[in-house]
Symmetry: C2
Subunit: 255 residues, 2 copies
């Protein structure tokens, strides 16, 4: 059994990811935020004058759940995973953020603590804006609030999707399939035809454990399901690159 993929060699996800992203990911990077780049001239100039950009290695913690929200982060390049933890150490992976995503918006608006922990998955360039600067910026330019509200609306929809995934799928297979499709679509943002049934290929930067905490499953269940998906021809994987062969069927087959 499983001969076709064993033949291609056995490649578990490497524990340390390469620091350099493949071309296909870099292509999606934008120097400034996909939201904030739509500012008018003056606002855009002001935007570039606040905050500082910094490079981060893979597996660095950017924000920590429970700490005062004193900075806003904007991802210029790379991927960041957002997690929430329970007192007992159980983890929930809320989503994987990419270039253009803004971290800490909600906490900053509520003037409280961060609700999630952010950790880089790969090497990243992150722009950091102190809370006070951003508030000033927002007060100076009315349009900032509008863009901010739209970003928050997107965050909200994302959170709802996570909740839906966890509650609306009866089987573990459904939850995992939904998680994989989400991940694939994050990676394919720029070129995705969205709802075709064409194979989707993306860079899988998460461990089975991560996937488990994304779908509310145990590590072992994820492992078993992935071999099942491979056996059934829905998933093809080589190195870190994962391909979903029949996205539509995956959505429907697994309740």
């Amino acid at each position: 059994m499983c001969v076709w993929w064993k033949r291609a060699g056995y490649f578990p996800l490497s524990p340390r990811r390469p620091a350099i992203l493949p071309r296909s990911v870099l292509k999606t990077s934008t120097p400034s935020s996909q939201y904030f780049c739509s500012f008018s001239g003056i606002a855009l100039r002001d935007f570039h004058s606040i905050g500082i950009s910094r490079h981060h290695e893979a597996h660095e913690i950017l924000l920590r759940e429970g700490f005062p929200a004193d900075h806003l982060l904007i991802i210029c390049s790379g991927r960041v995973k957002l997690t929430a933890a329970s007192a007992e150490g159980r983890l929930l992976l809320l989503r994987v953020a990419g270039p253009g995503d803004i971290l800490g918006l909600a906490a900053l608006h509520e003037h409280t603590v961060y609700r999630v922990t952010s950790e880089t998955l790969s090497a990243c360039t992150i722009k950091s804006i102190p809370r006070a600067d951003f508030v000033r910026f927002m007060e100076a330019h009315p349009e900032v609030s509008r863009i901010t509200a739209m970003a928050l609306a997107r965050e909200y929809n994302n959170a709802v999707l996570t909740a839906r995934r966890l509650a609306l799928h009866s089987s573990a297979a459904g939850k995992l399939a939904s998680a994989l499709l989400d991940l694939a679509r994050v990676d394919e943002l720029d070129c995705a035809p969205a709802h075709t049934n064409l194979p989707i290929s993306f860079l899988m930067q998460l461990t089975h454990e991560d996937l488990g905490s994304m779908a509310g499953l145990s590590r072992e269940t994820v492992s078993r399901l992935l071999t099942r998906f491979r056996r059934e021809g829905h998933v093809f994987q080589i190195h870190d690159r994962m391909t979903l062969n029949h996205p539509v069927q995956m959505e429907t087959r697994y309740g």
Copy 2:
């Protein structure tokens, strides 16, 4: 077993709720939104001039998931439950909204369809604002975007809490306890000392089925757990009024 509560009579939640809310709930009602009432003079006057208030009976559908987001709703009084459905008919109850809450903000900002269905739990007064009017209102008054962003931030945090509940509790008991505590705190907004261990009492307007779809459990499991909570002295219930005797223990005891 369970004699103490059988003695008080057996009162399942009535299928049709009374149209008149008890005093304790009415007390929390505010004629205008808890967010939007913080507007400055002119904005506030404009706000009162747009949209219309309407009365709704219990169990009316206000918004339907998947329909174009053409109206914004503001709850003046009463309770509304927000649900999302899967293709197979499974339901997720995202939260119970009350006076001051705004429905449809995210969908309106993204100019797409509603992501949730809203159904009144009791008799409600709801202010409805057509999308175009709200957009004009927002463009006329910069502060509206700011308040809107804050409302969205709250929505987001709520959705995250729902996801957390579903993923971070290993046991069904934990999920249900978390759901009950959430519901209690929605009702106690005005007078709650938040994190004391004093008993919290609130009007339980949800059926076991609703609770199930809030915690990701089956109706029967909810029933069994509630009798267990009663037996263990954590929950006391008479008619529709539910009391959580040891809020803090409930949070900690059930992982």
